[in-house]
Symmetry: C2
Subunit: 560 residues, 2 copies
């Protein structure tokens, strides 16, 4: 009878235990969890704080409403889950784990045939003056969520400061905003979502968040917290901000101490090294979830990418392999989808910045357009940026944002990336088409087509960033080919040298433009901008570019 | 200066014309359209009838609000679009087309270097007695939509009968239902969506439609229409149904007469034959859109699959190839997504029926589950059925339905099919995960995993159809492992031999089941059913199956 011991009772740990049980009714399976709660869906916690979810216990329930507590695992799966049990050492030669009961202080040695390390990760706590003040919260455990929500519900929170504009930070910003709290996000890097968005995409997301009431301070460093027992103020290198509550969301680090002390290999990212079978450097010890490193499928590089979805896959593969299979984990795409108020944001594969750092010869395109036919109620714009290997035409990565449907497009591109597909493959997919869901030519196909046209030289794009530089230098003519009505409604602010010639009049008003001028054509989404550029080039203009993404993706100020 | 002549001014025709213009500023491009409207989005018309869209002209507008009429195409794209012009003959030796002006009756010969046939398709009109009565509508053109809506708005329509339970039929059923009209759909075949759903999936869709007020009469043949100038009654082989309006939606046939008369090859499906470059049997004549046949990417077989999305792709490829490129059209997956009230339905690749007919050795799995974490508001179940080649593990096709998000999953599987991927690829995709969008293990990964478990013999599924047969014969024990509360709320109707043992009690109540009995385990979505089967097999029960999809996908009656 095989003894399987699992350290960690959240995602990867319990998943691997459950999988072993399904494969092997005889195995003796024990799960050790140092906390008192197990198997909780931590990713949903911002929505509990935001008021969408009534009861924090929902995160511990099955879809059918049963509490996933130790007696559930005992009765349903015959798995022995022990909470408040801390694994303090792994004795590899004797194949035992030293365990301390956190209630009684007792220690014991538990034997294993196969061991699973699923110790997770811990939020980083910066060693700043005042960090020990009350009201400064990590946000990693249901207890954190319960505490934050209780304080909001009591009405004592008027102002919140979030440190870090990553996933947890921005989701919590939404939660506070939804609850009517004045919220400021302070980010040391000079953009939101620095881990996974290129700067111009981050700019557009930041513009949206700011316009919708989330205060964003990027490129700003927190120096200390002031208060009297309880935090009252966050002091940065630029200002001080009143704060009734502070959320620390500057990232997490893998819990590797136990593995390290046992002499298991730690990878270049600082997380536990595992091979494709999820085995550590000791073949009787597996590791999975937030404490291990992954391989990026596109780049082949090791990455630290803690994700609930990945942890669950790890768990399945560990369970299968403990039961005698040899199943490989292919790796990750560092895919992210995140909601910021009503804006959907996503990324899969490599960003342009990563592609550049890795030395790829790449081409990018950014296209904007409605997510379904414009005549359908609820049609909203989305913008998609592709990063493509120029020689092989292989997709390297994609980013998308908009109030329209983004997650679907990210998932389709993740599928193409997983299978090593090209932009031609992406264009060719026979995607489902019906007006409630999509346009006849889906946004991903439009984006693929834009890259194709760039590769043949037909489509000469210019990014909003470069266009802005030219605008500030006054070296180019900005040609807005929208209707005067659209122009009067909203337009790029402080745009020097702008000409508004509606597309339908352009062929008759060519004389208003100089053939030797650099012309940057655009419209709301730059589809008409592209049409205008084709018209101008057909008429002999030689220096015409299309501003990619148009007004919709313009990350700088507009005036109305 | 190249002369490009296009016959047909809706999707494929105008798209090819626009693409030629972008590639070739010099070309002389003429588009002939026999009707008075061009470039309309016909797919949105049911939503106009249903009241979601205010103005039928929206279908002819660009996203920016400009009318796509001949002067728009002249001014913006320098394309000469002539409406009410009927092409009556193609003279291939002289490279001209005979054109009749439908306003004046005048005839003319127009020369071409390259010709595009985009003549579309026409709804089938069955030669039944009474078919000429007023109030019997085709539904293919904005004029049809305008007429139907005007009649509903006037209040004169109390009862509607739709002939055909395909895409247009069911979308129109939703439209009438939304407008408070009593609606009956009559379908000759014995299921809804006979062209693209397997029978048990169609059964579940039909159950939903019926429970939500759409009357469905399948396996019933219309014999005649009665009325006095205007239709009043539809007579089938089983009954007569009062009808203030009748919509004919039994399918379309490709308009091939012009091509046929010119001696161009017609394919086995009856549509115009084209090669992968969209060339007809005459290399100076291209054809695209609803009048041509396509190749199914999975089976390699020719199919007639008219779709607005496909027509637009054809148009792009034709335009590129006329301009000197050699771009291939890869084919279609016969992908469909369709909304029936609040139920989302989709299909891509092959159905089980098609896989069987084509001689594949396949395995299927049907899984049900929430489309995002159960704790998120708005989480709704969806069911996914996969059809997989048993030896190669390649995905052959997928169907899905549910009130939850279906279109995304269909598109992801369409991507995998396009790239020839396996269920292992499908499982491995690093899909975007965040609670507003999806669960950590997405439904498509669960489905892929179910097929893997079937292939190893670990998961022994039984379809609802086979289970129902066994229930009627009384040969099996039905083991419902939900809680008593769930059981009291809703359960399979007339279920003989059902035992309700909650999963958590099963290990202690094994004595209530016989080891020699055939046991069919299930729950709401059959995840606990699978767990129960694993428990029973572990305890030595040898004839245990899991009813796939559980209560959620059960296509027969339930009682509450």
């Amino acid at each position: 009878m095989k003894k399987v011991l699992v350290i960690g009772g959240v995602a990867a740990g319990l998943k691997s235990a459950a999988k072993v049980r399904r494969e092997d009714p005889e195995a003796q399976i024990t799960v050790l969890e140092k906390g008192s709660l197990i198997s909780y869906g931590a990713c949903g916690m911002p929505y509990y704080v935001g008021g969408l979810i009534a009861d924090v216990n929902e995160f511990m329930k099955t879809p059918a409403g049963a509490m996933r507590n130790p007696s559930f695992f005992k009765n349903v799966k015959d798995i022995d889950v022990r909470t408040r049990m801390l694994a303090t050492a792994i004795n590899r030669s004797g194949k035992t784990v030293t365990v301390k009961n956190l209630e009684t202080g007792e220690e014991a040695e538990l034997p294993y045939d196969k061991l699973v390390i699923a110790t997770g990760a811990t939020p980083v706590k910066p060693p700043l003056p005042g960090i020990e003040l009350g009201g400064i919260h990590q946000f990693w455990h249901p207890d954190d969520a319960a505490m934050v929500r209780t304080r909001i519900d009591s009405g004592e929170i008027k102002t919140a400061v979030i440190i870090g504009a990553g996933l947890v930070g921005m989701e919590m910003a939404e939660a506070f905003k939804t609850r009517g709290v004045d919220v400021t996000v302070v980010e040391m890097k000079d953009q939101v979502f620095p881990a996974f968005l290129d700067v111009e995409i981050a700019g557009a997301v930041a513009k949206y968040a700011t316009e919708n009431g989330i205060k964003l301070l990027t490129g700003e460093k927190v120096e200390r917290f002031n208060g009297n027992g309880v935090v009252k103020e966050v002091v940065t290198d630029k200002r001080s901000i009143p704060a009734d509550i502070v959320i620390l969301a500057i990232g997490v680090k893998p819990n590797v101490e136990l593995a390290k002390a046992a002499g298991l290999a730690i990878g270049p990212t600082g997380a536990i090294a595992v091979n494709e079978f999820m085995e550590t450097s000791d073949p009787d010890i597996y590791a999975g979830g937030d404490c291990v490193e992954n391989t990026n499928i596109v780049s082949g590089k090791k990455v630290f990418a803690p994700m609930g979805s990945t942890a669950n896959k790890h768990g399945r593969i560990i369970g299968e392999n403990i039961s005698g299979k040899r199943i490989k984990f292919r790796g990750v795409l560092n895919t992210v989808v995140v909601k910021v108020l009503n804006l959907n944001v996503g990324k899969t594969g490599l960003t342009e910045r990563e592609a550049k750092e890795l030395g790829y010869e790449y081409v990018t395109a950014l296209v904007a357009g409605p997510d379904k036919p414009h005549y359908m109620p609820g049609s909203k714009p989305i913008s998609i940026k592709l990063v493509v290997d120029a020689a092989s035409r292989k997709l390297l990565g994609a980013q998308a944002f908009g109030e329209g449907e983004v997650a679907k497009r990210i998932d389709v591109m993740a599928a193409v990336l997983t299978l090593g597909g090209t932009i031609d493959d992406l264009f060719d997919i026979d995607l489902g088409y019906a007006p409630p869901y999509s346009s006849p030519i889906d946004n991903v196909a439009v984006a693929a087509n834009a890259v194709m046209n760039k590769l043949t030289g037909k489509f000469k794009g210019i990014s909003a960033l470069t266009a802005k530089e030219k605008m500030d230098q006054g070296t180019a003519v900005f040609l807005d080919v929208r209707s005067p009505e659209e122009y009067n409604q909203i337009r790029i602010a402080n745009c020097r040298g702008v000409k508004n010639i509606p597309l339908g009049q352009l062929r008759n008003r060519l004389g208003e433009l100089g053939k030797d001028e650099e012309i940057i054509a655009f419209c709301k989404i730059s589809l008409r901008g592209y049409e205008a550029a084709c018209t101008l080039e057909g008429a002999g203009f030689e220096n015409v570019k299309v501003m990619e993404g148009g007004i919709v993706a313009w990350p700088f100020a507009c005036e109305k």
